[in-house]
């Protein structure tokens, strides 16, 4: 992990290369360095960090979403970058609102993001523009709602049996 100074220097390099407003903030806690990025600029920032930065991060080891309810903007998408050469990690986070949950897909930069972006879409409803196959991945294709959001109720999903399948919603609609 870059230390707090290294993180600030990286943030400065991103600002100079991509634009002053691209990096909203930095966070260094518990040995984890994180850049907070302006959502529309995520693709540019990741491309810069992968290709052009003097300390590049060639791999995307994980991409996941989370819900910061009650904070706003609610949804967060984390990109865990990894440099195998320098054995270093950097997290990049973009936060979007529920109403405008759109980010650019990074599958062209990191093919590994394919399944993981589909998973984030499936569970949080973040739409990744430019994704080659933007469908649900784990939930059924006709499922309504985004179950990992914090305001989605826990449990209460009725089990379908033959005796109740016609009474349950979403079944014969």
């Amino acid at each position: 992990m870059p230390d707090a100074t290294g993180l600030e220097l990286a943030a400065q390099r991103v600002r100079e290369a991509v634009g002053d407003t691209a990096v909203i903030g930095t966070n260094h806690a518990h040995g984890r360095a994180r850049l907070e990025v302006d959502p529309p600029r995520v693709h540019e920032v990741l491309r810069y960090l992968r290709d052009d930065d003097e300390e590049p991060y060639g791999q995307l080891s994980s991409l996941h979403g989370c819900d910061y309810l009650p904070e706003e903007p609610r949804l967060g998408v984390h990109y865990e970058l990894l440099s195998m050469e320098r054995r270093d990690r950097l997290a990049v986070r973009a936060r979007v609102t529920v109403e405008d949950a759109v980010l650019a897909s990074v599958t062209d930069l990191f093919p590994t993001a394919d399944f993981q972006e589909r998973e984030v879409y499936d569970f949080f409803g973040v739409v990744f523009e430019g994704h080659p196959d933007p469908r649900r991945i784990l939930m059924p294709e006709d499922y309504v709602g985004y179950p990992q959001r914090r305001d989605f109720p826990m449990g209460g999903e009725p089990v379908l049996f033959t005796f109740n399948e016609r009474k349950l919603p979403r079944w014969y609609d």
């Binding site: 518990h30 791999q59 080891s61 994980s62 989370c66 910061y68 984390h78 865990e80 997290a91 990992q148």
Partner: protein, 422 residues
């Protein structure tokens, strides 16, 4: 005239004359079309070779696989969502059930994330005990892979032999934690209990025997022509493509990239141990098999070293706000009783923050992301499961191979559907 039985079959077939049938072919209309036909079939979800409920939508041209599309989600049980409703110490039980062959690794990744957020130090003895159990678990997981993988290719003996040794490992797990599977041995701050008397001797007996057993497995497989034909030079994916796809673990190492988190970014005192990282050269299915076999030998060495150098001291942190007090204190200490009550009823609170802890599981980088909001329940638990990410490579491994080799590719990929669907 030559003996007809000694000429090849096709030539004999050509020599059959149909002139006697008045010039009409008895099989008219059955000629092959000049253009080949594509056939789309489902491999799975209920196919024994898919190692779980994995559905593969395959497009076949004859026997050649032209396109593979994995369809997953059949065993999605919402474990990540369920974790948000549990106190941190109860969520360990849930995360263990994701990748059900690597439960110690799931539990470690989760506990280490929470310890990271709490800034909790783990005593050295607990770290060594964790290493011992994780490496034994790696052997158990690879043994299960070996047994079922060889079974896919038709070598049924491997299943009995590999599961016989795995059973000894499960006996060891049962002895140390009370459970054979999903042991919940790791706690936040350490491990549940110290090793019971007799455990070390039993474990050492197993470790002494295991290299001979691996020799026996290799003697069965390495000269087996079916095995070699199915695995050698099949399923090769270039290492750059594997890196782009985020593939990690034995699949990546078989392609020649020595990336192993135990060496690259040591955690849990892995830096104390001498071990090698097996690396393949060709990157085919045979290399994947060899790498895993060699990893088992290395794991045995790590466990031996950890048993030799097992430090004295507590097996769990002394911080009573996180770890339960010893049972005997409850009868005499009011304070211990209060701590016990608070921990069991409410759990401990974790200050707000985010942690992502990656560990080297038998299948690759297993990362656990935990978001804490200051309460006693996690606001988000996410597992970056290696099976889920590695499954994307199956398309590239399998396309263009014949379907029998494709089954071998799937076996050597070693996907665990509990981890993929979570």
């Amino acid at each position: 005239m030559t003996d007809p039985l000694k000429t090849p079959y096709r030539e004999r077939e050509k020599s059959i004359s149909l002139d006697a049938m008045n010039g009409e072919s008895p099989i008219s209309g059955m000629e092959l079309e000049p253009e080949t036909e594509m056939l789309t079939i489902n491999l799975g979800p209920h196919h024994p070779a898919t190692h779980g409920v994995l559905r593969l939508l395959c497009t076949l041209e004859g026997e050649t696989v032209q396109n593979v599309q994995p369809i997953i989600g059949y065993v999605h049980t919402g474990i990540e969502k369920s974790c948000e409703d549990q106190e941190y110490w109860k969520a360990i039980t849930f995360v263990e059930r994701m990748d059900y062959l690597a439960y110690y690794f799931n539990a470690y990744a989760f506990c280490a994330s929470v310890e990271n957020l709490l800034d909790e130090e783990v005593p050295p003895r607990a770290q060594y005990l964790r290493v011992i159990h994780m490496e034994l678990n790696r052997v158990a997981s690879h043994l299960f892979w070996l047994g079922t993988g060889a079974l896919d290719i038709g070598a049924i003996t491997m299943l009995w032999w590999a599961l016989r040794e795995r059973d000894e490992l499960l006996d060891l797990f049962e002895m140390s934690s009370g459970q054979r599977l999903h042991t919940r041995y790791f706690q936040v701050g350490g491990v549940m209990e110290d090793l019971p008397p007799g455990w070390e001797a039993k474990c050492r007996r197993f470790l002494a025997e295991m290299p001979n057993r691996i020799d026996q497995y290799e003697a069965l497989l390495d000269e087996n022509e079916i095995w070699l034909r199915r695995t050698k030079n099949t399923g090769i994916v270039p290492v750059e493509q594997l890196l782009g796809l985020g593939v990690s673990g034995p699949l990546l190492r078989a392609a020649g990239n020595p990336w192993d988190l135990r060496k690259a970014m040591p955690y849990c005192s892995y830096e104390d141990f001498e071990f090698k990282i097996p690396v393949g050269t060709v990157g085919d299915n045979y290399d994947r098999y060899r790498v895993r076999m060699a990893e088992m030998r290395e794991s045995v060495k790590i466990v031996e070293q950890a048993l030799d150098g097992l430090p004295e001291g507590p097996y769990i942190t002394g911080n009573r706000k996180v770890a339960l007090p010893p049972r005997h204190e409850l009868a005499t200490s009011m304070e211990a009783l209060i701590h016990h009550f608070k921990l069991v009823t409410e759990g401990f609170r974790v200050p707000p923050g985010e942690a992502y802890v990656p560990v080297e599981s038998p299948r690759g980088e297993l990362g656990c992301f935990v978001l804490a909001d200051g309460s006693s329940k996690p606001a988000r638990v996410h597992m970056r499961d290696p099976s889920f990410v590695n499954l994307q490579a199956l398309k590239h491994m399998g396309e263009g191979t014949v379907i029998a080799d494709f089954i071998a590719c799937l076996a050597m990929l070693d996907p665990i559907l509990g981890g993929i669907d979570r």
